[in-house]
Amino acid sequence: MINQFLDTSVIISYSGLLSVEKLERRENVFKICADFIKNKEGKFTVCYFTIEKEIASLIVRQKVWVNEIKKKIDDENYDIGSTNAKSLYPEDINRAKKVYNYYSLNLDKTNKEGFKKNLSAIQADIEARISFFLERLIDERVIPLNQIEKPLVNILREFIGNYADCNVFASVLKYTTSKNEKVIFVTLDKKDFDENEIAFLKNEQRLQSYKFPEFKILG
């Protein structure tokens, strides 16, 4: 049976599928990802880092972010991020400002409650889709947090810029090495897992004791 180890990006993309997806871009990752999930082959595996750190943290951040926009809509003097700076990244504050600007420039203020309601609804919808994915579509959860090899993460950090990706990939390597079957790592991340990058990793002396998965890059 094919064993497909899913990166966080796959779950996030699944959660964002709109009921009408326009394929205006050549690569609509949401549609591609939804089709991939729908036509599931073999089993889906996810690591605990994705579930307990990445997804959990993303959902908290989304909620705080939505609340910040609502506060700004309710009180235009409110400074976005002033009460929740620790839970948000600086980029999130800029994103919230962008949404607020969109609201203030484009929308009829008489429907501000409708806009806030939509913010809440979309957040809750996305969270419910993620929850469904984790509860019903995942076959195996692997590599508890305390089993992630810190030295391996440190080596990967020399090659992969993103700390979260290093932890996920460290989990993938540990898992793949422990298995006698073929493991396919499925991701949307073209930046960190492009062909050259992977070739470079495979040649790294300190990673020779690890078995690499096959890669499937969606989109």
């Binding site: 990006s9 990445e54 951040r61 989304q62 939509n118 609804a121 979309i122 919808d125 996305i126």
Partner: protein, 364 residues
């Protein structure tokens, strides 16, 4: 100078606390007795349920009078209490004359609010939003006969004839129906209070109708839209959005009817939290209470804390119910194509793709 008896000291303490909460040190200075003496008598007054101790930030201890006749011990001057009781009594009389019935609590309270606000007396007897709408902070009980001699009270600018006329007019406003629900809704409409109208619709749905998942989702996210969001309401907003999230998840379960009782119980807990905040927020609109931090510390710290903790626990229990029933989940629909959906979805995707977890220190 004669030494004060314990009874006199205790009475002095109670008199000083009439003006509002005080620390032992402040009472000691006002009463003219030492710290230890005041502390000892305060303990006795606490045991007699005449004063209440409040533990504030940085462990500061303050004491306030227990006022059986107002909500959360909010102080009202004696002469205005008498006016308030007269008002309750008069409403009862007129109501009875017009309908032959004794008015219900809701009818008296809503009518009293109308009178207090129209006459400006709400500056002394504040009217506030609470669980079932706007009420005076002075408690009403149908039991005692409020036979008060209002003529003996000297209150500037109170013209008794005009006051009585105002009561008559206010009774007419609320003589709309014999159903308490209709009276409540009438008040929410008068004030165009969408949050309270929404609360009524959610309870109606959860009690009287087959639960439509789409309607429940729609109403719960509307509740979020109207939920208070000032800086001191951050916890309330957070828990409300948490409730919305759980409702959306529960909606994936095929037979949501099984959870009707639990959803209702959770919503009521959530509503108590929101309504207690609304009480606090509306009270701070009055000059005497407009120092928000002080008002919160003096009268709401305990009640808000309890309501928030309880709501949080109920929402968490509801989430557990969902997690225990994930084998019953139906596949979720794709996100609805509302105008903002694509923009928000793309931003969430961006947030997710940039690496959602940056804390290097957490794995060791």
């Amino acid at each position: 100078m004669n030494k004060k008896t314990p009874q006199q000291i205790k009475q002095d303490i109670l008199d000083k606390l009439e003006q509002g909460p005080l620390s032992i040190q402040q009472i000691s200075q006002e009463v003219g007795s030492n710290w230890l003496t005041i502390s000892k008598f305060l303990e006795e007054l606490k045991n007699e349920r005449k004063v209440r101790e409040m533990l504030l930030r940085e462990n500061a201890r303050l004491f306030r009078l227990v006022r059986e006749d107002t909500y959360l011990d909010i102080p009202i001057k004696k002469e205005y209490k008498i006016i308030g009781f007269y008002l309750f009594n008069k409403i009862g009389e007129i109501w009875h004359e017009k309908t032959g019935k004794v008015p219900k609590n809701t009818e008296v309270l809503k009518t009293a609010v109308e009178v207090l606000e129209k006459t400006g007396l709400n500056r002394e007897i504040p009217t506030v939003w609470y669980l079932y709408g706007k009420i005076p902070v002075l408690k009403y009980s149908p039991e005692p006969e409020y036979k008060t001699e209002i003529s003996s009270i000297k209150v500037k600018s109170l013209n008794l004839k005009e006051f009585n006329e105002q009561i008559l007019k206010a009774v007419e406003v609320f003589l709309v129906s014999s159903k308490t629900h209709d009276v409540r809704v009438r008040q929410y409409e008068l004030y165009n209070n969408q949050l309270y109208q929404l609360k009524e619709r959610i309870i109606y749905l959860l009690i009287n109708q087959d639960i439509s998942k789409e309607e429940l989702k729609n109403l719960s996210s509307s509740l979020y839209a109207y939920c208070p969001s000032k800086e001191d309401a951050s916890e309330i907003l957070r828990i409300t959005q948490e409730f919305v999230s759980v409702i959306y998840k529960l909606s994936l379960i095929k037979n949501i009817e099984e959870f009707r009782k639990d959803i209702l119980e959770t919503f009521i807990g959530l509503w108590k939290m929101i309504a207690t905040y609304m009480f606090y927020d509306s009270l701070t609109q009055y000059e005497k209470f407009n120092d928000r931090e002080r008002t919160r510390d003096f009268y709401f710290s305990e009640s808000l804390y309890n309501r928030i903790s309880s709501a949080e626990e109920l929402v968490s229990n509801l989430l557990s119910l969902y997690l225990n029933n994930t084998s019953e989940l139906g596949e979720p629909k794709a996100l609805s194509n509302i105008p903002e959906a694509k923009m928000l979805r793309d931003i969430f995707f961006e947030m997710g793709m940039e690496g959602t977890y940056k804390d290097d220190k957490s794995i060791s």
